[in-house]
Symmetry: C2
């Protein structure tokens, strides 16, 4: 398995990804090869730090441009074809990698993935996702969390299917319940789009998903559903407000076993769902541990064969 890693992406790049890679090498499965994309100078420096025992599991592709965190996604991707992220996506698209990992500019990574790796035929809008730890130790998933600020009912219905397939393939959660994030549980609740979506999913689900109806904000942390479907506007604001609270929990020195699971470091990143190859999106503030876990997540996603399952489900 070949894993491409954009070592120039993220607020703490290239230090954080390189440290993460050094840490993970001793326990890296023998059949996994890491291909690092980034500046020649950075890589030369890194080579000297690398344990020679693992030299054969790491290779380098020098790149000459970097997409910065604050750049306009479309412009950045168009103007910087030699950026680590762009070169990585091209290698992924041409099957030279099995998966690409990046904690760089999320918008650019999304735009670039749509241009190069392309959506699976039948998928209208690939979503970004985040995992929500459940008090019972399981995981839920929220989608979309920012890629698609406005989503029609048929798009939200697809999110339900994609989330179901992800939890099923990667986390072995069978028949997860799909909840439509809303402001009340009755079918007629919500804004116009949520009302239409409730009807659309009820009419079209065809047993592809286990629709649990409308769920409310507090149900994200209760045993009401595993897949939480919403537009990227709502999902992004909910995700970031939760992050704001966890930031405070950390800052105030509160240590708690359950809330530890909320640290994005623990899973590192999640795949963009519904594109032709797996791209693992990391958080901008990714630490070495986050990169380690992103590489693990990448292996899981490749082994699960998730992309092919989705292709099969949408090919008709």
């Amino acid at each position: 398995m070949k894993i491409g890693i954009d070592i120039m992406g993220g607020d703490y790049a290239p230090k954080a990804p390189l440290k993460g890679i050094a840490n993970m090498l001793p326990s890296l499965p023998e059949d996994v090869e890491l291909v690092l994309l980034g500046d020649q100078a950075v890589m030369d420096q890194y080579k000297s730090l690398l344990d020679p025992e693992h030299h054969d599991q790491v290779s380098f592709i020098p790149t000459t441009q970097v997409i910065e965190m604050g750049e306009s996604p479309t412009k950045a991707f168009n103007n910087k074809p030699e950026a680590s992220m762009a070169v990585g996506l091209n290698h992924l698209a041409s099957s030279q990698f099995d998966v690409l990992i990046s904690a760089g500019n999320t918008g650019a990574l999304m735009v670039g993935s749509l241009y190069t790796v392309k959506p699976i035929t039948g998928i209208i809008r690939p979503p970004l996702t985040t995992l929500v730890p459940k008090p019972d130790g399981n995981f839920g998933i929220i989608l979309d969390v920012g890629a698609n600020p406005d989503c029609k009912p048929e798009v939200l219905n697809q999110f339900g299917i994609l989330g179901t397939m992800y939890l099923n393939s990667v986390y072995n959660i069978q028949n997860p319940r799909v909840g439509l994030l809303n402001i009340g549980t009755e079918p007629e609740k919500g804004n116009v789009n949520a009302q239409n979506t409730y009807r659309y999913i009820t009419d079209h689900s065809n047993n592809e998903i286990n629709f649990a109806g409308n769920v409310e904000g507090y149900d994200l942390f209760r045993d009401k559903a595993e897949v939480y479907v919403c537009d990227g506007f709502t999902g992004n604001i909910v995700l970031k407000s939760a992050e704001g609270i966890f930031e405070l929990i950390k800052k105030r020195g509160i240590t708690d076993e359950y809330f530890k699971h909320f640290d994005f470091e623990n899973h590192g990143g999640t795949p963009i769902l519904g594109i032709n190859k797996p791209v693992i999106v990391g958080h901008g503030v990714s630490t070495p541990t986050a990169f380690e876990n992103m590489v693990k997540q990448g292996q899981k996603v490749v082994k699960s064969n998730l992309v092919n399952h989705i292709k099969k489900a949408f090919e008709t």
Copy 2:
């Protein structure tokens, strides 16, 4: 000052409001009179518990119907003209009370307020609000949190003005910053409605508000703005997901000075902004302490003359 209290509203009614009233009586200012609305039998029982010293500060209006928590708001309000909530709103509309307090069915309280007390001329859609405690001890306000799931830019602009006036009049926060809740800080970020709203507010604010531009989910708990403007769909989901997290914080026995402030009990309730008389909306799960604080909030709102300030601002 006459404060009407719906003692039949809330999950723990009538026990919780009556216990709250018994607790608050000893320290109730002499110029405040409480008028309780509810079943005759409940009130007879209560009278016997009431400290005779304060009998002159409490009176009763017997009512014969109750709007239940799960009822359809419009139907409930139309079919139950003798409900404690409806009778209370009519007394408020005809100036027999200075403020009405209820922890009953929020939808019905909203619908009833719009029918009887009516929006202030010029206000398109009165919002529901919630207070957000800031780490520095101050308060922010989010509006709308559920009354208006779809909001046009001019409605969101009015929320900015209403939130500013509320923080100004009731909490003496001068020139609060108004942030548009969004998924990025750049003006072009967000769904179509948020993009239009950013432009609308920039074009129309006329120095009535101190517009701080777009703010993100985590900014709710940071020093970025005091007034957070969003549609009631987004606001309700954000509020309830935060409630879900605080529920877990409590459940897991975490005690922390700052997070204590998140307990809605501490302020009890908030007024519906932009209607002709103050109605204080409590949380369905209001406890005696919450009722005590709702009555305090009611006094604050009346003394601040908030409603007249809003009337004056919108009368042109």
